[in-house]
Amino acid sequence: MVKMQPYVKMWYDYLEEGKIMGLKCKKCGAYEFPPVPVCNSCSGTDLEWVEMKGTGKLISFSIMQLMDKVQVKYGRRYIGQVQLTEGPAFTATLEDFDLNKREELYDRLPADVNMGIMQFDGFKFVSFKLKD
């Protein structure tokens, strides 16, 4: 019998509590971040909620300047592509870096980052910040 959980809501609820959570496969140890119920490494279905280390490497970036009717609420911002320490990659806002210093950010790649939690309009979402 499959025991499905409302993974998306649970993940967002954890963010409200200040926790960045993922799933770890009990069979092979691979991480699913953000959470999905089946392991994409070994097909395992027995995964447990774990708190992520909150660190990773910034592999690349872009600047959001093309604003659709929703994104316009959040304005220009860096988007970071990050390889998390646990393995999965994730894409989210890179906070607190000068938008006029794209060359400096490019020179620093790959850069160590910490994960953070950013407030959006009515919900929280993961973000990244450069270490130091």
């Binding site: 998306v8 691979a30 953000p34 994409n40 490494s41 070994c42 097909s43 592999i59 690349s60 970036f61 872009s62 600047i63 959001m64 300047q65 093309l66 604003m67 659709d68 009717k69 929703v70 994104q71 316009v72 860096y78 988007i79 592509q81 990050v82 390889q83 393995g87 999965p88 990659a89 994730f90 894409t91 989210a92 806002t93 794209r102 060359e103 490019y106 790649l109 790959p110 959006f120 919900f123 979402f125 993961v126």
Partner: protein, 457 residues
Amino acid sequence: MERRKHTARSSRDPLKIQNKKERNSMKTRIGQFARSVSIIGVGVTPLGNVQVNPELKDMTERELFAWACMEAMEDAGLEAKDIDCLYVGHVFSESHSGQISTSGMFSRWIGMNEKPGFRHETACCTAVSGLRHAVLAVASGMHDVAISGCVDINLSNAMIGLPPFNRTPAVFEDVLYDSNALGCDQAYWYPGGEIMAFLEGAYIAYGKKYGYSLDQLIDAISKCSINSRRNAMNNPLALLVSENYEDEAKKFGFDDPMNYLKSKFNPLIGAIQGFKHTTGVADGASALIVCPTEMAKKLIKDRPVVEIAGLGMTTSSGYQQPGSPMSFDLESFAQSFTQAGIKDPYKELDYMAIHDCCAQHYMTVTEAAGYFKPGEALHAVMEGRIAPEGDKPVNTSGGRLNLGHPIAGAAGYEIAEAVWQMQGKCGARQIKKQPETVLVHGLGAGFHVASAVLRAV
């Protein structure tokens, strides 16, 4: 039927390289078709705006769809009664056309009432997915002749309660939302960006990997845009462009279009890519007809028959694709190459058609396919090697950058261009040596990468 595992992916998987282990241990098993299948007819409409361009004025999705399909039937020398099934690619059927299940409505428009078929969509690679549906229907032996038609009207919206030639112009921010946000997972991706930002990230990772400066990266995408515009100006299907970038730049006081594309007249939409380095949507339709190769050879005597030698398809949640090359490209190409028996794409491919919704794909995607060696494509672009007269031509049609982006039908224009190139029908855009082996790449939001190897037989 023999099923064999492909091995082409493992050594090129960027996730494997970055994580020091194989993350995704699953392999797609790729077998061979039960019988060889070929494209027997292609058809496209001009690409423009149904509210503006006289060639398309007042047409609904029905006329555009029928136009492309009837062109394909004419090209194939077949009538509707000769075709067994239809696949209708229609991405924005709900949001722009105010309709669902349009395959039912459109079948009668091409004389195929009550024939089997369905509507499908995989965003911008819908036409390659349609090719896949059609090929599998014929290769399996279930049908002999299948048609795949794809249509979207993107620059205006149908008005609720009125006949569908009544349309209201689409608002830019809404088009942007539809074409970007609807293809980003709203659970885990969209708050963290959108498609164009994500794809630019892959290019910046590419530049870092090979030690290129940001200026070099910008110059290369500008060069791609200039080449693409030149190709589109040689393509009578392109209704939305009117002059080469050389002439456009002069109007704004620039002798060199490269400087024009670095100026305020090409405003940034990302960290380095400008508005003119990316695509603009258009209204239009494309279609193709496939049948057994044996049958195609009997019907076509005056031009090469184009066999579908290999198909590839990946589904991926996008936000988990770090850096470049992107693993969903690698896996899709590996499937196509395995089925087609391509061992050395650099030597074996004569032409490549890519989904150039943004100019950086001329570097990142061509290298993922092995059409260029790692790090080579940027220089190849700067040296003009991707032009029709170059030794490594790419998207001679003008592509999505300048021919236009009809979403569902997009890749159908590149498949048609590839077929015409292989048959020597491209006029001013014709590659000197008619290509014999071609790779088609389609990228659809979501994401999907659908690819196909075409071979003249």
